[in-house]
């Protein structure tokens, strides 16, 4: 019983345990729901899943189901990022506990009941609970923003700090996290308000299905803005998080953080103003540049750091030695590399589409344009996921050969899959439909191979984490003990501080 309690406490009362549960939930949903599309349909796996689980897949509700699925996975991803943030950004212990517990109840409620509503008969009580879950996630977000409030005196940075700070010592990186949290809340609210018109003048749609419709309603534009900015802010959050992981600091950090804040505000304003502004895209482009610049600064800093650390014991390292040092740790190298790779498969494609829309993409059938659109944002979401996995693998203490295999397979397999998906989506640039079969066959196979390799490796990783839970002194125990120690120390400090405050107050009162 005690063993069970210990594991329960680890899984639901420690930040690392909560992160593991959330990642396991995403993995579980991906494993099951992944059988409903792509090659799994061709292999007949979908029918088995549907029959075994008793799913009800009405054709007319498909788009609605997919939207629910996106939301349930997004809630878990937000939870993971929030857990990371509450662990790495200084805040009071009770704030961390409050945020994490509300977040956990929220995303699990939204995830479980959202999927039950969407895929197992439309019980509207479940839909209500899905909304309750999302509301709790939103409330946890408000608490997070409050905890991240950058003007608190105790979180100010001293003069000469290597991290970005204002003249008054405000931690600009903390301010960037705060801005991201507030922008996310605002964007979530944007979606929620629009969603409240569902079946009340607003019908379910997938944005990619509307691309060539002559006029979009304000509600449609609001949803399109919402979904774009939510994915972008998720990317911003992980960029800031891995910055802490690699201890991003120095001159580049001082440039990056104010730039990031400006980028977040501008990008969010642009994405939301598509509802009424004809030239909203101009604002979006400006914001996107200012969000991508800090990512570039992070890449330069992190690669430089990896090279310096890897060649510290060599007096005059050669170019080869520098490259070897850069590639020594695939997880830390990969977090920056995936951001660079993102430019070829996401940003580059997006910019190319924007520039040559009329001359190329609008000459293709709408379905081909749609593939390019859905392809590039699926790739963005998946790239964010790989960076989250890299960070979590590092937190899980993956070392030595396991770390090398895990990291390199993750980088190579995902990049093969995403590069192939990009080639597939742009195939009309270099082949016509009549001759497309070789391109389709090759790219599809490479996509399946890449994604399959990642999924198998990740399943092994999660299998190890599951097996580890059965060990008395496994990785979970190490993580749990370390966290108890850190939390106890933090709480002790807080108590000491409080004691000092109370004593000072007593002294003042007795004067």
């Amino acid at each position: 019983m005690q063993a069970l309690t210990k594991r329960f406490n680890y899984l639901f009362r420690s930040t690392r345990g909560l992160t593991l549960v959330a990642i396991a939930m995403v993995a579980l949903v991906t494993a099951i729901w992944g059988t409903l599309s792509g090659p799994m349909v061709e292999w007949g796996i979908r029918d088995i899943t549907v029959k075994t689980l008793g799913m009800e897949l009405t054709q007319a509700d498909r788009e609605g189901r997919i939207i629910m699925l996106y939301h349930t996975i997004a809630m878990a991803i937000l939870a993971i990022e929030v857990y990371f943030i509450t662990e790495i950004i200084p805040m009071k212990r009770h704030e961390q506990v409050m945020i994490n517990s509300i977040m956990t109840v929220g995303y699990l409620t939204a995830m479980i009941f959202g999927l039950l509503f969407a895929y197992f008969g439309h019980n509207f009580a479940f839909h209500g609970l899905f909304l309750v879950g999302q509301s709790l996630v939103f409330f946890a977000g408000i608490l997070l923003a409050a905890a991240l409030w950058p003007w608190k005196k105790e979180y100010r940075l001293p003069k000469g700090s290597p991290y970005a700070r204002s003249k008054k010592g405000i931690d600009i990186e903390r301010a960037a996290f705060f801005t991201m949290a507030v922008a996310t809340l605002l964007s979530a609210m944007w979606g929620a308000v629009t969603g409240s018109f569902w079946a009340n003048g607003h019908e379910t749609f997938l944005a990619e299905d509307l691309i060539r419709h002559p006029g979009h309603t304000a509600l449609q534009k609001a949803i399109i803005g919402h979904l774009h900015i939510m994915v972008s802010l998720t990317a911003v959050a992980i960029t800031l998080i891995v910055g802490r992981w690699l201890d991003f600091k120095g001159t580049l950090h001082k440039w990056a953080m104010p730039t990031m804040i400006f980028g977040i505000i501008t990008l969010t304003a642009g994405a939301l103003s598509v509802v009424w502004l004809e030239w909203a895209h101009t604002i979006i482009y400006v914001g996107a540049v200012f969000v991508m610049l800090p990512a570039l600064f992070y890449v330069i800093f992190s690669w430089d750091k990896l090279i310096r650390e890897g060649t510290a014991d060599i007096e005059k390292p050669t170019f080869g030695q520098k490259i070897a040092a850069l590639l020594r740790d695939p997880l830390k190298f990969g977090s920056g590399w995936q951001m660079v790779f993102m430019n070829f498969t996401v940003s580059g494609v997006g910019i190319f589409m924007a520039i040559r829309l009329e001359q190329i993409f609008r000459v293709w059938p709408a379905r081909e344009e749609r593939i390019t659109l859905t392809g590039h944002w699926h790739i963005l979401a998946a790239l964010i996921a790989t960076i989250i996995i890299m960070y979590y693998a590092d937190l899980s203490g993956l070392k030595g050969k396991k770390r090398q295999w895990f990291g390199w397979i993750l980088i190579i397999a995902s990049d093969i899959a995403f590069a192939s998906a990009t080639v597939f989506s742009m195939k009309r640039l270099f082949t016509d439909a009549i001759n497309q079969q070789p391109v389709v066959n090759t790219t599809m196979l490479l996509i399946d191979f890449g994604l399959g390799a990642i999924l198998v490796m990740f399943a092994m990783f999660m299998g190890w984490r599951l097996y580890d839970l059965f060990r008395a002194k496994g990785q979970w125990q190490k993580e749990f003990s370390a966290e108890i120690k850190i939390n106890a120390q933090a709480e002790l400090e807080e108590q000491k501080h409080k004691m000092a405050q109370l004593e000072a107050a007593l002294k003042e009162a007795s004067k």
């Binding site: 349909v41 007319a60 788009e63 002559p214 009329e358 059938p365 439909a433 079969q437 070789p438 066959n441």
Partner: protein, 322 residues
């Protein structure tokens, strides 16, 4: 050693991908007689029908007729012979202009005059000017051969839907015989009928579920996917009629997948050009999904679109008339 193993796996995957790669025209399929007359029409009576994904009851207050099958390659070859002989179209080299003149190229084929669409100068509006417009181009994938101004359907594809035809070509065919391309609403009503169960009308012409032998779509495992690879090929019009076909020693059982009004191939096989011209835009809509489409795009409310100059191996049409 590990590097070699990786390289071998990678090369094997590439080789496997290349092996199954064959273009549509590289293999000649057998001629399959489905027994249907492609010149058959049905009347769709006036009345309400469930329209779109949300099944909004929508009224069409007039009767109209629509072809039971797509226009076949043979029918289109006959049309080309007639229209060229009548002097309403000619073969030669023609300029194709898109993106409001920013992109232009020439193609050899058959073209005829089109009076153009009203142009408002709206954002993203494509100007369709008056002039000679290509009906078909003499390119790989066209299933009609030509000797001077004599056009002949490839025998094995004679009863397959006419493909590689532009909207101009589809529109010209219908207009030449006094018909017209169906409007989207007309097409959808003909495809799904009027029945509503619960709150939903039919998502597919034959009902609520789809199976591989209901229609020709991506990875539906029809006969032609065995011959042409996963992307498949067109099937003869009216192929999914409930019969079992014996071809080269293999048998393939189809389900009768006619729409409530008896139309065939309203889901899958080839996308079908629609007659609507959307103001301020001028993309031409397509309906029905094709052999390249996933099953979700075969749902009757799903749409596709392209400029009227566009043609593809999975794009055909049928006509309607009042």
């Amino acid at each position: 050693m590990k590097r070699i193993a990786f390289s071998l796996i990678f090369m094997t995957l590439i080789a496997a991908a290349c092996q199954s790669a064959s273009s549509i025209n590289a293999i000649t399929p057998p001629y399959i007689d489905t027994g249907i007359d492609p010149d058959t029409w049905v009347t769709i009576p006036a009345g309400e029908f469930p329209q779109g994904q949300e099944s909004h009851m929508t009224m069409i207050d007039y009767d109209y007729q629509i072809m039971v099958t797509d226009v076949t390659v043979e029918q289109y070859a006959n049309f080309l012979n007639e229209v060229v002989a009548a002097g309403d179209a000619r073969s030669g080299e023609f300029e194709v202009v898109v993106a409001n003149g920013e992109e232009r190229w020439t193609e050899e084929g058959v073209a005829g005059y089109y009076p153009g669409d009203p142009f408002q100068g709206a954002k993203h509006e494509e100007e369709i000017t008056a002039g000679d417009k290509l009906y078909v181009s003499f390119v790989d994938g066209l299933r009609i051969t030509h000797d001077g101004d004599t056009f002949t359907a490839m025998p094995e594809y004679a009863n397959h839907p006419m493909t590689m035809v532009s909207w101009f070509g589809a529109n010209a065919y219908c207009e030449y015989y006094g018909y017209r391309l169906p409007l989207e609403l007309e097409w959808e009503k003909a495809a799904r009928g009027t029945e509503v169960v619960g709150r939903d009308g039919y998502p597919f012409p034959w009902g609520y579920e789809i199976h591989g032998n209901n229609a020709n779509y991506y990875s539906s495992f029809d006969l032609f996917e065995k011959m042409f690879g996963k992307l498949g090929n067109t099937t003869p019009v009216g192929f999914y009629d409930g019969r079992t076909y014996e071809i080269d020693g293999a048998s393939y059982e189809t389900l009768d997948s006619a729409s409530p009004y008896g139309l065939y191939d309203m889901a899958g096989n080839v996308w079908q050009w629609m007659g609507d011209d959307h103001p301020d835009q001028h993309y031409r809509m397509m309906r029905g999904g094709s052999f390249y489409s996933y099953e979700v795009d075969l749902r009757v409310w799903k749409e596709n679109s392209a400029g009227p100059q566009h043609y593809d191996p999975d794009l055909g049409f049928r006509c309607a008339r009042d």
